[in-house]
Amino acid sequence: MNIFLRELKANRKALIIWSVCMFLLVVSGMGKYTAYSSGGQNNEIFNKMPDSLKALLGFGSLDVSKMSGYYAMLFLYIELTAAIHAVLLGSGIIAKEERDKTTEFLITKPVSRAAIITSKLLAALVNVLILNIVLLVSSIVMVSAYNKGEDISSEIVMFNLSMLIVQLIFLSLGAALAAFIKKPKAAGSLSTGILLVAFVISKITDLTDSMNYLNLFSPFKYFSYTNIVEGNGLNVIITILSLVLVAIFIVLVYLFYQKRDINV
């Protein structure tokens, strides 16, 4: 319990800063909505463009003059920021002991390594949940402030659920890498690199359909935005598979950390 509370307190300042920044991001993003929604006559042209051209302009296959399409476009950047937070949190919370030279102190306490990992991961999970809820609330409030059309609150909830899963994937990935790699400082850079690759892949597969198999490597693309926008919710099979992936990564964290040679 102590370790869990201590980790919560240690991450408190960072969480507040990230939450405020995300809130500002949502506010400024929605503020731009009026610019996109007022050009009504452009709709016809937009709808007839092939997807690759629309991707070049940044919209992908979404109709950005409607609130639901615009929110979907905005959402990619919100998800990117949340994923960065999750990856840095996951890799940092495991690697920070060796980075700050506090490992010896912690490991010699009468708690098993598994218990340590459990407390840390739970604290990270709470952080991720708080960020997600902050985003959910600010999205709903801001969207209803600017929305002229139909209510999309249920779609926002779906979006946030998919984002939660992406956050969990990157959180557990960062933690597993940090537990595995010998040099703890490199864990953060490596996991961020993987995240950037996933982001670039999602941008590239938007451009052309020929490489859709690459979507396997990009958690940003696991849930189809167009499906959510149309109100179809999340694909159950993909949700279950993603959760299985998260579970695998978490098991890896425990495995690697138990066997790890801890450098004091």
């Binding site: 400024s28 610019a35 007839k48 463009m49 070049l56 950047y77 960065i84 850079s189 690199g193 020929s210």
Partner: protein
């Protein structure tokens, strides 16, 4: 001189990794250019059925986008993101690593002034960024001549890639300034990534309008690629502002670092 060479060596591995990453990205994007051009051809045929006004509006933007320069605009936005992250990480870590890795007291008791130390580190970072840009430019020039379907202006291409170097200088200076404010930066990544992505997202979301004032907020928008393509030059006001930011940030870093209390072990 010693410090400069030492810092060059310490930055070497990181620079190689970043350069390879940026070139690989360019390769990836250029490999889908042929199929992208095919898509565009189909749209141009479709356009035949539209009223003249729509055709003009869409046709112009189409020609722009599907030309190799237009396509490169999109490639370049991702490349600048990577370059900015590299420069920001260099900037934030080059001074703070002494405190982080406990080498501060070794370095600072040497008979070199603190400004000399900052100069050597700064010059080493700039050299490595320059090397990254040169190698990247050579690689992309080769790539583009393989993939192009029509001719392009070498001067425009050079100016676009030069803007990457200026952008990196700006982030290097910003990173340097940010790092001197902290007693000990435990981890460079959160603040670097947060700043870079923050500016990038602001640039993407906020600066799409014509209000010029907003463009000053995000360094990513200081060099507008369509403008460079049209006029083969940079916008002077942004160039001056960028230079001012770099000079002020670096000067402030010198001053603060010289006066700062640096802890040997903390």
């Amino acid at each position: 001189m010693n410090m400069y060479l030492y810092e060059l060596k310490s930055l070497r591995k990181s620079t190689i990794i970043w350069t390879c990453a940026m070139i690989s990205l360019a390769v990836l994007y250029f490999s889908i250019y042929p199929s992208f051009v095919n898509d565009a051809e189909d749209v141009k045929k479709l356009l035949g059925g539209y009223p003249a006004q729509v055709r003009v509006a869409l046709g112009i933007s189409l020609d722009n986008i599907t030309s190799i320069m237009g396509f490169y605009t999109m490639v370049f936005s991702i490349i600048t993101l990577c370059g900015a992250i590299q420069a920001m990480i260099f900037g934030t870590s080059i001074l703070s690593k002494e405190a982080r890795e406990r080498t501060a007291d070794f370095l600072l008791v040497k008979p070199v002034s603190r400004p000399a130390i900052v100069s050597a580190k700064l010059l080493a970072s700039v050299t490595m960024l320059l090397a990254t840009n040169v190698i990247y430019y050579i690689a992309v020039s080769i790539l583009i001549s393989i993939v192009k379907t029509s001719d392009y202006s070498v001067k425009q291409f050079f100016l676009i890639n030069l803007s990457l170097f200026f952008l990196q200088l700006m982030f290097l200076a910003i990173g340097l300034l940010v790092s001197v404010f902290f007693k000990k930066l435990k981890s460079v990544l959160p603040i670097s990534l947060g700043t870079v992505f923050g500016f990038y997202i602001i640039g993407v979301l906020l600066a799409t309008g014509k209000e010029d004032g907003v463009r000053f907020i995000s360094p990513f928008k200081y060099f507008d690629i369509p403008y460079i393509i049209k006029n083969s030059s940079y916008e002077v006001s942004y160039l001056i502002t960028g230079t001012m930011i770099v000079i002020v940030a670096i000067a402030a870093s010198y001053i603060i670092y010289t006066k700062k209390d640096i802890h040997a072990v903390s």
